[in-house]
């Protein structure tokens, strides 16, 4: 990358080459303002989750009592457990479906590959309300009671394409000789896939799994339509709490969500950028 732009002095290449300093200042300032807009509201939530006072307006001193209260809330703990069950199951299914499909589509020619590509793309961009209602119609017509199964199916449907696309991106950088060598040395295609390709794809698989889990864990809209009474996940409870106007307990829960998201993004970046093992 750097040698391609080497002709431009390093001090200038990050901006329009002959752009005046005022332009840089404008775009930089704009970016800072947008980051402030994105982060100030969530930072305030985190700060006020440590507020001793129940009223959000006043700072009553530092406390962690809302977190303690949160961990004593059985309803939320049950919802958290449901989210973990659904998220883990959807992640495992997504990784299996996404990884095998990515490899097969990379390695073999299938008829109508263009249409197939579009089809895989659809669950990623389809409005969630359409996915939720259409799956609800399917489950009701097929007589499948709403519960963990329907929720896991629904979540897997929008999660696996993300794994597939991530794995596909890593396959673009694969040296075909790697598999050929394995085959020449007598491995079956299956062995070559398991012992050579999977290890190469591992960073993308882990990043995809983290992404799938986050998507499932946060999903509210599709969940509204496809969950049963006993399979209420955390976002459904969070919605109810927000609707009632919020509470310090919800601030604490939000802060944990935000913290977990930061860890997940960092983790998935770490794995996406890792070079071959």
């Amino acid at each position: 990358m750097s040698d391609a732009i080497g002709a431009v002095p390093p001090g200038r290449r990050w901006w329009l080459p002959q752009g005046p300093a005022i332009q840089r200042a404008f775009f930089g300032g704009w970016t800072i303002a947008i980051f402030a807009f994105l982060y100030i509201p969530i930072l305030l939530l985190v700060i006020f989750s440590f507020n001793e006072s129940k009223l959000s307006l006043y700072w009553g001193g530092f406390t962690t009592k809302w977190y303690a209260q949160l961990f004593g809330n059985q309803v939320l703990l049950d919802a958290f457990k449901n989210s973990l069950i659904v998220g883990s199951a959807a992640t495992v299914l997504s990784v299996f479906i996404g990884t095998t499909a990515a490899w097969l589509l990379y390695r073999y020619r299938f008829p109508a590959q263009q249409t197939l590509g579009l089809l895989i793309f659809i669950p990623m961009v389809m409005p969630e309300v359409l996915m939720g209602t259409s799956l609800l119609v399917l489950f009701v017509s097929a007589g499948i009671p709403l519960g963990y199964t329907t929720l896991i199916i629904a979540h897997t449907t929008f999660c696996f394409p993300f794994v597939l696309v991530g794995v596909q991106a890593r396959l673009q950088g694969l040296d075909p000789a790697l598999e050929e060598a394995a085959l020449d040395l007598g491995a079956t295609p299956m062995q070559a896939f398991r012992l050579v390709i999977i290890p190469y794809l591992m960073p993308a698989i882990v990043a995809g799994a983290l992404m799938a889990f986050t998507l499932s864990f946060d999903e509210y809209i599709v969940t509204v339509f496809t969950s049963g009474a006993e399979s209420q996940t955390l976002p459904l409870k969070v919605y109810g709490m927000v609707k009632r106007g919020g509470s310090p307990e919800l601030n604490a829960l939000s802060a944990l969500f935000i913290g977990a998201t930061i860890l997940l993004v960092l983790g998935s970046q770490f794995f996406t950028r890792r070079k071959s093992p």
Binding site: L38, L57, L130, T157, F225, S254
Partner: protein, 296 residues
């Protein structure tokens, strides 16, 4: 972002590919079956149900009549659809104006900083939208931080009702969808060849002209993808609009949700869903066409 290039990436064939025999087909079955059973079949069923009726218990009776569509074209629902499209349009335009300079700045910034900056966009992108909407409710509500601040500074004597207004709805939507606009435009900007901009300057073009004739056309695929990821989802979004708008002036997503849950009129909800589906397919077609056009 990976999502935006996905359709073309998957479609592109390469030289090392072999024709799929029985084995590869067998192993592709889980995915093909999944897409068929849980994407195509449900969508078709939604269309089928939209022509149906419901019995007194709210169960669907399969039939063929256009009553639900006739009802959907009543002006009450058309107005709601119109308002939803208007909110989504405002959201898209505001996200584009706010997001483009950010995407451009990050895409053209030094590589050392780029990763960190784009990560700062991805964190809100991945944070639960309910939590992020709640963050604004905590600021804007009657007992919220903004009113506390304004009253503390004696700028107002009584709390101002920021919540449950169109302003609050659009703010909530913009706050939620902004990262979805920044990420695909950033991908386009990052691919932009800096020497083209340099050449335009060397040939004497002024900054405004460089932007209009070089930068903008080359980042059009990113803009198209951003619009696809913001506009249609914003029309269909319901939780943010209910929380920020108070439910008094529902959007089309809220109406569909109500028909499927509280009102128990699935056929009518399905008919409204089909209208949304047509809108979705149209946007998908338009943006794909726009992107393909750029690549050729």
């Amino acid at each position: 972002m990976a999502v935006t290039g996905a359709a073309t990436d998957i479609a592109s064939g390469s030289s090392h590919q072999r024709r799929a025999g029985l084995g590869p087909w067998l192993f592709l079955t889980p995915m093909l079956g999944w897409l068929l059973l849980f994407v195509i079949v449900p969508t078709l069923m939604l269309v089928v149900v939209s022509f149906g009726e419901r019995d007194s218990l709210g169960r669907v009776i399969f039939a063929f009549n256009l009553d639900n569509y006739v009802r959907a074209f009543d002006w009450i629902w058309l107005r709601i659809l119109g308002v939803s499209v208007w909110y989504a349009f405002l959201t898209t335009v505001i996200c584009l104006i706010l997001g483009y300079p950010v995407a451009y700045f990050i895409g053209r910034s030094d590589e050392r900083w780029r990763g960190l900056l784009i990560m700062l966009v991805m964190i809100p992108f991945w944070t639960s939208f309910l939590i992020r909407t709640y963050a604004w409710i905590a600021i804007l509500s009657q007992e919220g931080l903004l009113n506390a601040l304004l009253m503390g500074m004696k700028l107002t004597s009584a709390p101002i009702g920021f919540m449950y207004t169109p302003f609050a709805v659009v703010l909530g939507l913009v706050y939620n969808f902004l990262p979805f606009m920044i990420l695909p435009i950033y991908t386009s900007v990052e691919k932009l060849d800096g020497s083209l901009i340099e050449a335009a300057y060397d040939l004497g073009a002024r900054p405004a002209r460089v932007f209009a004739q070089v930068v903008l056309p080359l980042t059009k695929p990113g803009i198209a993808a951003g619009i696809l990821l913001v506009f249609v989802p914003a029309i269909a979004m319901f939780a943010i609009t209910t929380l920020m708008g108070g439910g008094g002036n529902p959007t089309i997503g809220e109406v569909i949700q109500n028909q499927f849950t509280r009102a128990r009129n699935q056929p009518f909800g399905a008919a409204l869903g089909v209208l949304l589906l047509i809108l979705f397919i149209f946007s998908l077609w338009a943006t794909t066409k726009l992107r393909r056009g750029e690549e050729e």
